[in-house]
């Protein structure tokens, strides 16, 4: 503290507090620590993933007062007075959010490493727009890369989580593909 002027923090590690998923988490870290590093390395909140570390992939997406941000691109210090929600705060295995249930039902994941970011970005969309159409879903998730290739299933999960019908694909025409049944 330097009476009267702005508070100076750092360069040495400083005590920091974050409001994460309804809990206050205190830790000591250098002011250069990003929100993602703080969550993963200081707070043991590992749902947000470090994939590209420069906001190109969406793997680290968290909600800041219900808006999605790339947690790798902001400092933890800039988030101290904000409400932070990670994928863990959206729902848990025992009490999942309908979106998370739909993600599982539609197999909207393979390796699952992008999934926390996808769920968080999709949740942000649904908060803003409770019944998004397919184009709006595509646009809202355009910052979330999935290498295994599960986008169509993600779209259906978001549609169903918002009370809409999944996109049907053209099928059957009266027979199975190879003319055989199991």
């Amino acid at each position: 503290m330097n009476g009267g002027g702005p508070t100076i923090i750092g360069p040495l590690p400083a005590k920091t507090s974050l409001q994460v998923n309804g809990r206050q988490l205190d830790f000591v870290a250098e002011p250069a620590t990003t929100l993602l590093e703080a969550l993963r390395e200081q707070c043991d909140v590992t749902g947000p993933k470090e994939v590209c570390d420069r906001a190109a992939c969406g793997g680290c997406t968290v909600l800041l007062d219900e808006r999605p941000v790339a947690s790798c691109m902001m400092l933890a210090l800039d988030a101290t007075d904000r409400k932070i929600t990670t994928v863990e705060g959206i729902g848990s295995v025992d009490a999942p959010d309908p979106l998370q249930m739909a993600m599982a039902e539609f197999d909207a994941m393979q390796c699952g490493f992008c999934t926390p970011g996808v769920v968080t970005a999709a949740k942000a969309l649904l908060i803003q727009n409770p019944r998004p159409n397919l184009d709006e879903i595509r646009a809202a998730l355009s910052g979330n890369l999935c290498r295994c290739g599960t986008y169509p299933n993600i779209f259906n999960a978001v549609l169903v989580a918002s009370g809409q019908e999944p996109v049907e694909e053209p099928t059957d025409r009266g027979r199975s593909a190879s003319g055989e049944r199991a």
Partner: protein, 712 residues
Amino acid sequence: MSQPPRDLRAINAGQSVADHATRLDGLEKATGAARYGRDQIKKDMLWVRLIRCPWGRASLDSLDRDAALATPGVVEVVVSGDAGEYHGDSIGYVVARNRRALERGLQALDATWTRLDCKTGILDDEKARAPMGDPSAETAKAIDDAAFTFEATYSTPVQTHSSLETHGLMIEPDGENSIVHASTQGTFVVADQIGRFLGKPRSKIIIDCEHVGGGFGSKFQIGKEGAAGGLAAKTSGEAVYSFCDREEEHLDTGNRPSLLCKVRLGHDADGTIRGARFETFGGTGVSRRGGGARVPSGRFEFGTLDSPNHQDIQFNAGGPRAMRAPGCPQGAFVEELLIDEIAHRCGLDPLALRRRLDDSERRQRMYDVAADLIGWENRADTGSQTGTMRTGYGIGTCHWGKGRAPAKIEVVVHPDGHLEVRTGTQDIGTGQRTAMAALVAARIGVPLANISVAIGNSMLPAGPASGGSVCTPSTAPAAMAAADLARERILAGVAEREKLDADRLTIDDGVIMEGGRKVIRWEDACRRLSEPVSVTGEFDGQASAHWGEGSSEGVQAARVEVDCETGQIFVRDVIAIQSCGLPLVRKTAESQIMGGVIQGTSYALFEEQVLDPGTGAVLNANFENYKILGSEDCPRIVPVLWRDDQTGVRALGEPPVVPTAAAIANAVFNAIGRPVRDLPLRPDRVLAALAEPMAERVVAAAPRNADLENRA
């Protein structure tokens, strides 16, 4: 799930062992509870980062090791080399107490390098620039005897695996043991490799890879990052975290190698190919091998062939590693576009020509379904369209084998009726854990809810790595054998107590029946057990009924729109028909096919590692400039599980990635009337193609659909 099952993709209904099963770890993944190797973070662990060469080729001039060691938090600096042969080549590593100290330590090293001349691609080698060699006398005669000759050159880029979880591992001491949390496709490969660096016998090493964030062929070996982590753990005796960052992931963890392919062939007016010479050059970076491409594939009749004529070309870049159907997508792109070019020259429908040149009976039937589902009848003649937006249709094909390796699966029957499936093999996202559970549940006759799976740990029964299309085909017979043993064991007890003939007992949805009569519930039968019963099923690696003979075939059809003002390609639909043998879990099987199509579409349109020809530096080792397909680019995909009469379990990870880029390239050719012979199909290449004359025809086009009418 609580909702009634939705019958999306009804074409695939009723074919799999578990039609409505969902991924067992789906909720864990969707809630962030799934913990990956990279999530194994401890406050007091050491961080490791390799010291890497910044240029294509360079010698180290100076490096301030003392300054790095004097940096607070830096505990070790190991320098073992003084030159780099490619951007990302390593000469040592730094170990520090935390991420910031590591970054400051690497900066304090202040490495200075002298940049040296380097080669950056296949065409830097004069062998690849030389004119085509003469075909053998026999092939030369076949080409000369044909009515027309055709020559073309095709190329494909370096594609990086781009796993979202980067390569690496976290090692923590646990008494005398070391627990290694690895991001790997091979639990037991890591177990065998890491001991040398850790300085520990295999018996003191436990590998954990319960969740793995993507593996497409590059995550078998522990890599330099794993070796450095092992050494640092040995030296320090502390927990060590050694993962690549995104840049390192693109520089030095393998790739699908680039390809240059030159073709000369002779064909007749009806599209019959009389003879052909293929020359292929694979770009292997600093590796001596691994650049092979499967072209021609053997799927089409090329007459008298002069092939293979393959050379691996070395230059100053990171070397290849196996990537999902190694050598095949690049080969299919060349071969399938070539077939379409011949068809166009002869005025033929390319599907009709394929039907003539392809002797696979299964693919012949797949062609019908693919044409039907994509709407092939709406396809305009190649080059016939005008205007800005032009639509194209294209076909690609594949064939595939599968591998086999010894595998064990343990099933533990608990006295409460719960079944635990135990397998050390990894689930890299293929759905391996769900497949094993579904198979055991169905084979015994109990609901899937009765099953849990322990997977991805070297203390569990051994199984194969996820590669070479080995894993599911080899573990499935073992799981079936274990399920049969568990079932027999419980039924024998019931038969003895109830004085019944065990052979007449069946289990249906958790109820043990004799004829139509209920005898006892599975749970109640198990309650008689005094302790859990463990049985182990084994697959010995030899062909058997459950492993299944035969081959996999695939046909994909794509519909694209091309914006002829901007050169941008929009892939609208992909029909992906794939031999699947006996599908275990329908949803995960469909996901694997869709994933293959999406990676193939990404390969067709976007992916390309770019090296600066002057310095050899990789210019796009990141996700901003190395573009992979995103949600806005994703086509509508119809995955079709094609079972036929195949009884064995077949692999679905690799084959669906093979035909996609080929089908898209053909659709683009159909739309714009000029072939784009280089991947990726970038807008500038489309515009350059459009500036060329329309592709040549040597035979007038047959009346539209004449061939289809003839066939009917």
